[in-house]
C-alpha cells in the first residue's frame, strides 16, 4: 500500500479546478445533452426511432464492417508488427512511419482517395469490375475504408508487447522440438493476446464511429450502404433532433462499453506483466 503523502509542489487546487472545469464545459456537459434528451423522449418513442428499420440496417452495416475490418487488421497488423520488431531491413523506419499515415491523413482525404482507387473505373476497381467484383458503393468498400483507419491501432498495440516477448522462451521451446507454428501458437500468441485484443477493440470502436473516410466510398444507399453516423446527419438535416439523438445514444453506449472493455483488457495485461 502506498501512503498518500502531501506534495510540497504548489498548484494542486488551481490545476485540479481548471482541469475539471474545462473537462466539464468541453466534454461532460455537452455529452450529457445526448442522454438528457433521449431520456426525455420516453422509452417507446426512443425505441421506435433508435431501432427503426433503417437505423437497424445502419447499425448492422457499421458494426459488421467494423468487426470485419478489425479482424482483418488483427491478422495483418500482427504481421506488420512482427516484421517491424523482429527484422532489420532497409526501409524499416519508413515502413513504421507508413503505419501512422492513417492517423495523420485527414479522413476526408482518405475517403476520396480510396474511392478513386476502388470505384468501378478506378485504379484497382477497373481490374475487379470485369470479374464482377464491386468494391465501391458496397459493404466491401466500407470495410476497406475501415481497414485503412484501424490498422495503426493494432500495430501500435502489439508492437511493444512483441518487443518484450523473450526470445529465450522461443528458443527454449524450439530446443524442446517445437516447430515454428507450434511456437507461434503456444508461446507468442498467448503472450500478445491481451495486446492484440486491445488493438482489435480500439480498431473496432474507431470503425463503428468513423465517418469521413467511409461516406465517399460507401455510396450511402439507404438500407444497404448507409452507416450509423450518416444516419445521425440525415436526421439532423431533416431537423429531426430526437431521431439523431436516439441513434447517437446507441452509439455512445457502445463506445462506453468498448472503453470499459479496453480498460479491463489493460488491467489484465498489467496483472500479467507483474507476474
Amino acid at each position: 500500500m502506498t501512503r498518500r503523502k502531501r506534495s510540497v509542489l504548489p498548484g494542486f487546487g488551481l490545476t485540479l479546478g481548471l482541469t475539471v472545469f474545462y473537462l466539464s464545459i468541453v466534454v461532460l456537459i455537452p455529452l450529457s445533452t445526448v442522454f438528457l434528451k433521449s431520456g426525455g423522449m420516453g422509452p417507446s418513442h426512443f425505441a421506435s426511432v433508435a431501432f427503426s428499420e433503417r437505423a437497424v440496417a445502419a447499425y448492422r452495416l457499421s458494426f459488421g464492417a467494423a468487426l470485419a475490418a478489425a479482424a482483418l487488421n488483427s491478422v495483418f497488423g500482427m504481421l506488420v508488427a512482427w516484421v517491424l520488431v523482429r527484422y532489420r531491413f532497409p526501409g524499416r523506419r519508413l515502413m513504421s512511419a507508413l503505419v501512422d499515415l492513417p492517423f495523420a491523413l485527414p479522413t476526408a482525404v482518405a475517403g476520396i482517395a480510396l474511392t478513386a482507387l476502388w470505384a468501378a473505373d478506378g485504379w484497382i476497381g477497373r481490374f475487379l469490375d470485369p470479374l464482377g467484383i464491386r468494391v465501391a458503393y458496397t459493404p466491401l468498400g466500407v470495410t476497406i475504408a475501415l481497414v485503412f483507419v484501424g490498422l495503426p491501432f493494432v500495430v501500435r498495440s502489439v508492437e511493444p508487447v512483441l518487443e518484450d516477448v523473450g526470445r529465450d522462451l522461443e528458443e527454449a521451446a524450439a530446443s524442446l522440438g517445437a516447430g515454428r507454428f507450434t511456437i507461434f501458437r503456444r508461446v507468442i500468441l498467448p503472450a500478445i493476446a491481451p495486446a492484440l485484443l486491445t488493438g482489435f477493440a480500439l480498431a473496432f470502436a474507431r470503425g463503428v464511429g468513423e465517418y469521413g473516410s467511409v461516406i465517399f466510398i460507401a455510396g450511402n444507399i439507404p438500407y444497404r450502404t448507409e452507416i450509423a453516423p450518416l444516419q445521425i446527419i440525415t436526421q439532423l438535416e431533416q431537423y429531426d433532433y430526437a431521431g439523431a439523438t436516439a441513434i447517437a445514444t446507441v452509439m455512445l453506449l457502445l463506445s462506453f462499453a468498448m472503453l470499459l472493455a479496453v480498460n479491463i483488457l489493460q488491467m489484465w495485461r498489467r496483472r500479467r506483466m507483474e507476474r
Partner: protein, 269 residues
C-alpha cells in the same frame, strides 16, 4: 526465407491499403497538369477554406495545450482520489464518433438546443458559424496533448520540481525553468498530433458548419463540396495540401522519435 516472405507480405499489405491511397491523392491532383492544380488552389473559396482551417487550428490547439499542461501537472504531481477516473474522462473524446461530437454542440447551441433561444435573442451565432467549428475541433483534439504529457511527466517524477521549490522557486518559475525543458519534446510531439487532427477534422466539423462556401467551410469540408460537384481536380488539389500536412507531421514525428525517443516516451502508442 520465411523472413523475406513475411517482409514482402507486410509491404504488400501496407502498399495496397495505405501507401497507394496516399499516392493517388497527388496523381489525381495533377491529372490535368500543374496550371489546373494551381488554379484550383487560387480559387477564392479554396483560399477562404485554408484561412478558416488555420484560424480554427490557431484557436483550438493552444486551448488544448494549456489544458494538457494543467491536467498533466495536476495528475502527475499530486496524489488524489479519482485520478483514474479523471484520466479515463480525458480520453473520452477519442471513443466518441466525430459525428456525435458535432451533434452534442447542436443540441446545446442549435436553434432548438438548450441555449438556442437565448443565443438567438442576443444575436450570438455558434452553430453554422466559426465558434461552433472551433468548439467541435477542441472536443475531438481534447486528449492529444494531455495523454502525451501524462505518461512522460509521471515517468520523470517530481524530484526536480521539489528541489526547485525547496530552493525557493515559485510554482510558475519551477514550471518554466524545470518542468518545461524536461517535457519540451514530448509536448511538441503532442502538439504536432493535435494540430494534424485539428486541421483535418471532418465529421464533427461537418455537423456544425452548415457548409457555407467561403464562410464556414474548412479545407476538409471544401474537399467534400468540390468532390460532390464532380470537380475532382479541385477536390484532390485541396486534399493534396492536407496530405502534405500529414507527410510533414509524420516526418517530424519520426525525427522526434529517432532523436529524442527517450524523452517523448509513452506515445508511439
Amino acid at each position: 526465407m520465411a523472413r523475406r516472405l513475411l517482409i514482402a507480405a507486410a509491404l504488400a499489405f501496407l502498399g495496397l491499403f495505405v501507401l497507394l491511397p496516399f499516392i493517388a491523392v497527388f496523381v489525381e491532383a495533377f491529372r490535368q497538369g500543374v496550371p489546373a492544380f494551381l488554379d484550383a488552389l487560387a480559387e477564392p473559396d479554396a483560399m477562404a477554406a485554408m484561412r478558416l482551417t488555420l484560424l480554427v487550428a490557431a484557436i483550438s490547439v493552444p486551448a488544448n495545450i494549456v489544458f494538457g499542461i494543467v491536467a498533466a501537472w495536476c495528475i502527475t504531481k499530486f496524489e488524489f482520489r479519482g485520478k483514474g477516473l479523471l484520466i479515463t474522462l480525458i480520453d473520452l473524446p477519442f471513443s466518441v464518433s466525430p459525428v456525435v461530437a458535432g451533434l452534442i454542440y447542436v443540441l446545446l447551441f442549435g436553434i432548438n438546443g438548450w441555449f438556442g433561444p437565448w443565443l438567438r435573442a442576443n444575436g450570438v451565432e455558434i452553430i453554422f458559424a466559426v465558434p461552433g467549428i472551433v468548439l467541435a475541433t477542441i472536443f475531438v483534439t481534447f486528449p492529444f496533448v494531455a495523454r502525451e504529457l501524462i505518461p512522460l511527466m509521471a515517468e520523470q517524477g517530481r524530484d526536480d520540481e521539489e528541489a526547485a521549490v525547496s530552493l525557493g522557486a515559485s510554482g510558475l518559475q519551477t514550471f518554466w525553468h524545470v518542468t518545461l525543458p524536461n517535457i519540451r519534446w514530448g509536448l511538441l510531439y503532442g502538439v504536432l498530433l493535435c494540430n494534424a487532427r485539428a486541421m483535418g477534422e471532418f465529421g464533427a466539423v461537418s455537423v456544425v458548419s452548415g457548409h457555407i462556401r467561403g464562410l464556414t467551410n474548412t479545407m476538409p469540408l471544401h474537399v467534400e463540396i468540390l468532390y460532390t460537384e464532380y470537380n475532382f481536380v479541385g477536390a484532390f488539389a485541396v486534399a493534396s495540401l492536407l496530405a502534405v500536412l500529414a507527410l510533414v507531421t509524420l516526418a517530424v514525428k519520426t525525427l522526434l522519435e529517432w532523436r529524442y525517443g527517450d524523452q517523448i516516451q509513452g506515445m508511439g502508442h
